[in-house]
């Protein structure tokens, strides 16, 4: 019976943990929404003046201003927005009158998630082998080359890399399209073909990070006694590295990937603009330019939620990657 009581206790504590996570998430989102709202209001520029162009009269300006509810006190605007936002009523765009929930969650978010996922795949597929190679051939010319590629990918601004890739692979060779989004979920080949250059552009930034972390962690792991033990058991070298070694590299790798998600979302903004992908980054860029407060706000909230979700996911992954953590 002792065991059962223990497991009940464990379940209760997990429930508390989950509730705690939800409460924390809600609190973080609330703070993010308040700060971003304030910053948007403080930023100079006026959506109504931009909408009316040069042709406006004072009269039409005032009316539009009132229609958009911009004449009310900030705090009232904020709570009005918040009370509707939590119910999924995100309002409609000033200019296009499109429903923002539909625009942000149903149209833009899937594009960005798909791009990010593909970029991550590219980065892992290139970064891990590069890091492993650099670690096992430490201080050789291969190590230097791998480090150069890693640092180069990290240092090259994704905006510029995107343009360079377009000029080489779209304009000069004509192998890949330079623009437009085709969903790989509905058209796998066409989708991957259209996302190849954007994923490479965004992934390049991550390659450096992943390769560097893989190299340094693997170097540490290589010194561990269990590696020597594995070799002593006569296991083949590839198994020693890829099974015993890499398993222990995964923890720092997952941590860094989760921590750097912000960087990836930032890169996604640039990449989406260069390759004309209608994702969150494009949506936020356009909305900032026209001071579409509600759209920017929605974009920020989704980004924050993504960030929190990935971090929670990383926490969960730890216990899967390292069973020892489950007991603690």
């Amino acid at each position: 019976m002792k065991v059962a009581a223990n497991s009940l206790e464990l379940r209760a504590s997990r429930l508390w943990q989950s509730l705690g996570a939800v409460a924390q998430t809600a609190l973080v989102l609330l703070v993010v929404s308040g700060i971003s709202f304030l910053f948007l209001k403080l930023s100079p520029g006026d959506p109504v003046a931009l909408m009316l162009g040069s042709d406006f009269s004072r009269d039409s300006y005032d009316q539009l201003y009132r229609n958009l509810g911009l004449d009310r006190p900030w705090l009232q605007q904020y709570f009005h927005w918040l009370s509707r936002f939590v119910l999924g009523e995100w309002g409609s765009s000033y200019v296009s009158k499109q429903d923002i929930f539909e625009l942000a969650v149903l149209q833009a978010l899937p594009v960005t998630l798909t791009l990010a996922a593909l970029s991550l795949l590219v980065a892992l597929a290139v970064g891990i082998p590069l890091g492993v190679l650099a670690a096992i051939k430490r201080n050789s010319w291969m190590d230097i080359l791998a480090s150069a590629i890693a640092i180069g990918g990290n240092a090259f601004p994704s905006f510029y890399l995107g343009v360079v890739l377009i000029w080489i692979f779209s304009v000069a060779f004509g192998w890949f399209p330079s623009m437009g989004y085709v969903s790989p979920w509905s058209d796998p080949l066409g989708g991957l073909w259209h996302l190849a250059l954007p994923a490479l552009t965004l992934g390049a930034w991550y390659v450096g990070l992943i390769a560097t972390v893989t190299r340094s962690s693997l170097l540490e792991v290589l010194e561990q006694p269990y590696m020597a033990a594995a070799r002593a058991r006569g296991e083949p070298e590839w198994r020693v590295i890829w099974v015993h070694g890499m398993r222990n590299v995964l923890m720092p790798l997952v941590t860094i990937i989760g921590l750097q998600l912000g960087g990836m979302l930032r890169g996604a903004v640039m990449t989406e603009v260069v390759f004309t992908l209608p994702g969150l980054g494009m949506m936020i860029t356009n909305a900032v330019q026209t001071r579409e407060y509600l759209v920017v706000q929605a974009g920020i909230m989704i980004t924050a939620l993504l960030f929190i979700a990935v971090n929670l996911l990383v926490d969960r992954t730890y216990t899967i990657l390292d069973p020892r953590l489950r007991k603690k």
């Binding site: 520029g45 162009g53 009158k97 779209s170 399209p177 004309t276």
Partner: protein
């Protein structure tokens, strides 16, 4: 009445049309070919191919496709393919004129009364007839205070609209109104674009995303931040047109990405193109570059309301210190001409091609600039603020290029501007609030002096951001707009322009080319120097 310019040009265009029709008929060609043979473009066309999808890249922002509410050049180019005006802009390769579009016949029993006989059988995309009732409703919509149309001022003098019969409307104006032909085009005027009443009432505020007109194409899709799709209107009133089945408009914000898409053949055309890419595109054998100096001018505006530029002598010094040749070569890559006044070449009846020799207007004369500076109120070195933005406009997304060329020129007369490159939203806010000493601007896509200088520089008008005021100027432009006599109008505009250039609320810089880039496989495009991309005559090879 012998000198009424728009009626005369109307007659000329009509007779040219009829002559061509007879010619082609006798040659046994079809009606479609008649309509497709481009005026002035001259590219020899075999029978244009039917069907196909044209993919274009749009660099400019699109605010709304409601013609009565838009103020974006990017929108107007699409609107002009979806809607028609009573009149349209026509171009014979040399001269801009106003030709009938939805109107078939245009009579002026007196200077204040215009009678339009409409084409019979024209239908909106939703099947509703486009008749006198529809025209009346549309014009009233523009004027209605509830809509707050930015184009309402163009119909301010319109007193009454009477339906004489189902296809005839009579417009009565309070005064003779010289600007009318421009106001009634579907493109640059926008006030004369006819919209479907039923569609407007059904869509409400959403009409800008679900436009219904009478044009050669109808809107079939709009993916936010991605693309807009148009499809052939099979019931379009010009027989045999349009040729294309579909038009896909890719919304590419980044100009270099759009040019790359063009060079790699992913799109068949660009709605407009920044100057820096033109040399490269001209060299490409698969690409045709359309572009002439259009109805525009770029300038540096100086804030008349506060020191130091409340001093006309100092403003004149600036106007004479700027070397326009350098600006044209380095900022516009040679794709512009120096401006002496605001009136530009497409305004053929008002523009003087020999203005350089007359001594009129503003031009580079450093000695004169120095002499004026020596007489200005503020002596010693000054550091005025100079706001610029890198937003893409009809003037070509110059960013700081003009400002960086002008700053060292002004330094020679002791003016050292502090250039501030700001986000477009901030630039608009500061411009509208008059929070600047100098600012960069260009007025584009104008076809008549009345729209190119009157709302921009008359006292208290909303585009007069520098706060310029000279009652003599106001009187001159008002007098010019209230007569249809060409000689009288020309006299008033010459006077107004001379006042404006001498008072120098602006230093005028250049008249610029505006480009349309098309692949060689695109045929039958009729170029019009009013920043338009009309696709009804276009076909694919």
């Amino acid at each position: 009445m012998s000198e009424i310019d728009h009626k005369a040009s109307l007659a000329a265009v009509l007779s040219a049309r009829f002559a061509r029709r007879d010619l082609l008929k006798s040659a046994g060609a079809g009606l479609g070919l008649m309509a497709a043979s481009a005026i002035g473009m001259g590219s020899a066309i075999a029978a244009p191919k039917k069907g196909g999808t044209l993919t274009l890249a749009w660099v400019e922002a699109i605010d709304t496709l409601d013609p009565h509410l838009t103020s974006s050049a990017g929108s107007i180019k699409i609107i002009n393919n979806v809607f028609n005006g009573l009149l349209k802009v026509d171009y014979d390769g040399k001269k801009v004129s106003f030709a009938p579009d939805l109107a078939e016949k245009w009579d002026m029993p007196d200077e204040k009364t215009h009678i339009f006989k409409l084409r019979a059988g024209v239908k909106f995309h939703n099947g509703d007839p486009c008749d006198a009732q529809a025209v009346k409703w549309s014009l009233e919509r523009v004027k209605s205070p509830a809509l707050k149309s930015p184009h309402a001022w163009k119909l301010e003098l319109l007193e009454s609209i009477d339906i004489l019969d189902p296809l005839t409307v009579r417009l009565r104006f309070k005064k003779p109104f010289a600007f009318l032909p421009v106001a009634l085009t579907g493109s640059t005027g926008r006030a004369g674009t006819i919209v479907s009443k039923r569609a407007v009432e059904a869509a409400g505020a959403g009409f800008g995303r679900a436009p219904v007109g009478t044009g050669p194409f109808k809107l079939t899709g709009w993916k936010e931040n991605d693309s807009i799709e148009l499809a052939r209107n099979p019931a379009y009133f010009e027989p045999g047109l349009p040729h294309l089945d579909r038009v896909v408009i890719r919304l590419i914000k980044e100009p270099s990405a759009a040019v790359a898409a063009m060079m790699s053949g992913q799109v068949d055309g660009l709605s407009v193109c920044p100057f820096q890419f033109i040399p490269q595109l001209r060299k490409n054998p698969n690409i045709q570059v359309f572009g002439q100096v259009e109805g525009n001018y770029s300038f540096v505006g100086m804030n008349n309301k506060r020191a130091p530029f409340n001093d006309p002598i100092l403003r004149q010094a600036v106007a004479f210190a700027i070397d326009r040749k350098v600006i044209v070569e380095q900022s516009y890559f040679g794709e512009a001409i120096p401006a002496y006044t605001c009136i530009s070449p497409p305004m053929t009846q008002f523009y003087d091609p020999n203005i350089a020799k007359t001594g009129r207007g503003q031009y580079f004369d450093l000695a004169k600039a120095r002499a004026l500076r020596a007489k200005s109120k503020v002596q010693g070195e000054i550091e005025p603020s100079y706001i610029v933005t890198d937003g893409f406009t009809g003037s070509g997304g110059l960013g700081t290029r003009n400002a960086q060329l002008i700053a060292p020129m002004l330094a020679q007369i002791g003016i050292k501007p502090k250039i501030e490159l700001v986000d477009r939203a901030i630039w608009v806010q500061r411009r509208n609030a008059g929070d600047f000493d100098m600012y960069d601007e260009a007025w584009v896509a104008d076809l008549d002096p009345d729209e190119t200088i009157t709302p921009e520089w008359s006292t208290g008008r909303p585009w007069n951001f520098v706060g310029y005021s000279n009652p003599k100027f106001d009187q001159a432009v008002a007098a010019a707009s209230e007569t249809t006599n060409l000689a009288t109008r020309r006299k008033h505009y010459t006077e107004a322009e001379d006042l404006l250039m001498t008072d120098a609320p602006l230093a005028v810089l250049a008249h610029m080319k505006v480009f349309k880039i098309l692949s060689k496989k695109v045929q039958g495009f009729e170029y019009v120097p009013a920043d338009l991309l009309n696709l009804h005559t276009v076909s694919l090879a």
